[in-house]
Amino acid sequence: MARGSRRWIVGALVIGLAVIFLAGPAAAGEKIKIRFQTWHWGEKPWVTALDAFKDDFNKANPDIEVVRDESRYADKETVYTATSQAKAAADIAHFQHRPIPMFAERGYLMPLDSFIQKEGGQKFLALYDQAALEVCKYKGKIYCLPDFVNPMGMLINMAHYKEVGLDPTKPPANWDQLVEYAKKLTTGSRYGIGLIGARQEGLFMRLNPFIWGAGGEFLTPDGKHSAMDTPEFLAGFKFYVDLFTKYKVVPPGVIEQGAQEVRTQVAFEKVSMNVSVPQAWKIVQAINPNMKVLETLTAVPVPAGPKKMATAAEYGMRVISAFTKHPDAAWKVYKSWYSHDIQLRNFQIAAVLSARLDVKNGPEMQNDKFARVYSAQAQFAKLEPRIPEWPKIGDAVITATQEAFSGMKTPEQALKDAHTAANRILSGQ
């Protein structure tokens, strides 16, 4: 090879490598970009609220740009874990309450205490639902503010009720009535109630009201052993499973059905009832714009169990990454999201129940046909155990639920195996 051409080749290689390894991102403009991550960017009607927030904030703050960062519901924790390990997580991210302690333990989240102190400390925190705020605390620090508090209720199709001679103003008050109504509503290719059986956290929000309503608990009071072997727990678990296997009031393929599938069944009137989050009616409307949701659906409480009235809740939280390069700008965006006007708009567009008390107790939420019913369930709501072992225990419970739904095991055997697995997990094995 001629010396001259060899030098050209070597020179080109060196320059190429230099470009690859030394070229950083294109020179940033003066704007600080804050990545605002949530799966709701891909979900109507939430995306309308998010776009409005982004546009308004960016207009009002020319030096900061809120940037859309999409995640997906199924793998939001996966993406956040992986990007956090690369110290490249989104500046602000959205989760439900469950992974907050795990993320905080791993150092992925920025404690907000110093920012909160500057805003007024306890006076600032008093603006928010105090029970939900407790969920944001971990080892003495605050890692988030509660965005929305969504107790579970039930959506019922009033037209279906009237068709079969039921009074929609008198929804099922207990389990016997739930079965009775669901059987009447199950006609031809339509089913009385939609349930979740897919492997997702939404399953617990539908299963737990029945567990707790029967008087069952996942753990013993000291939190060290499984309490899933009690007759009360079995009663609640078995009732949930029997709705599908014994009473046959749930559409087939329940194991394949997640929250969005069940909402789609509601939207296309495949089911007449659905245990749901407060914003479900808005999602149903977005799935089927032709459905006159306000005239067709109404919200009612989850029927009381044999022991008590109980329901589950979904707490939405936003967090700031410990690896954000612009903590002050991130806080500015964060604080803006949690302001009264934005929280109120989020409720108006997406129907989530804000954890901000002046919105929660305001006339808009109190007078809303759906919100006031769901909001009234908050007093009966509780969360599953907030322990590091919960994801594994929860997975064992989902496995048991699917095994019972599919007939692989009886509910008793499936639950017994889940109980054994939970105790093994809690003992550190």
């Binding site: 090879m1 010396r3 060899r6 080749i9 070597v10 290689l13 190429g16 490598l17 690859i20 793998d75 924790e77 996966t78 874990t81 992986a82 992974p99 795990m102 333990e105 791993r106 290719s189 059986g197 897919a198 492997r199 559409p251 087939p252 393929g253 329940v254 194991i255 394949e256 069944q265 495949k270 590091p388 994801p391 594994k392 997975d395 496995t399 048991a400 699917q402 095994e403 739904f405 599919s406 007939g407 692989m408 095991k409 697995a421 094995q429």
Partner: protein, 291 residues
Amino acid sequence: MRSGHAWHDRHIGYLFVLPATLMLVVVLIFPAFITLKASVTPQGGAGWHFTLAHYQKTLHDPVLLQTFKNTFAFVAWSLVGHFILGLSLALALNQALPGQTFFRLVALIPWTIPDVVAGIFFRWVLNPIHGAMNPLIRMVFPSFPAEFTWLSNPTLAFPSVIIANVWRGYPLVMVMLLAGLMAIPRELYEAAAVDGAGRLRRFFHITLPGLSTIITIALALDMVWEFRRFALVVAMTGGGPGTLTEVLSTLVYKTYFQFFTFEYASAMAILMSAVLFVLSLPYIILVGRER
């Protein structure tokens, strides 16, 4: 001067392979090292503290044991399906027929579809309420249940996933076997035909021996692919019902990203890699011999 040029000539090759080598280190070697380190780090620990507790735990984990069994069954049946379908289509596409090129292209289509898309596709098709499978079957067998469940059925969920995987992955084996078939001299078949050998004898005495090396290589490569199958299973069943369709890759993913037990998941991943390496030895030896 002359020795300088010689040094240059001897070493310039390293410069050319440097980008690829760096890429290999970043994408493969560094993550493997990090995973290995995590697998011997105490739970929630950091730094350079070592323990074999996670590996000890794998020996007593009933879920892991069941998942290994599922994975071996999944891989074995997938290989059988890929081989039978791949060989059948390769034999068919090796015939001089009109439209041969078109059919060869069509046969490759499943391979062009990403795993997750294929998984979602099959999930939709097999949906008991809205899927296309039940109505199609009812066109031929009207008494077939209208809302028959496939992926929720404990007997049919695993075969359904395997069938989807066979459909998705047969083109790899088919293409390799087709190349092998095209390399077998036609004269052998002609001579055998002259000697009175029928189709079956020609297949067993000419075709299969001629393809033996290619078959080993194809199945070995396919085994490595199938052992790592992830997106198709997650998209179709998520490992359910229960843990019936859970495979090693989905369990490692769940253990790492959902249970937040990074260290134990890393131990499972290293174990999985070790098993895969052992299973790949015949291929490695064969390729070594070929050289």
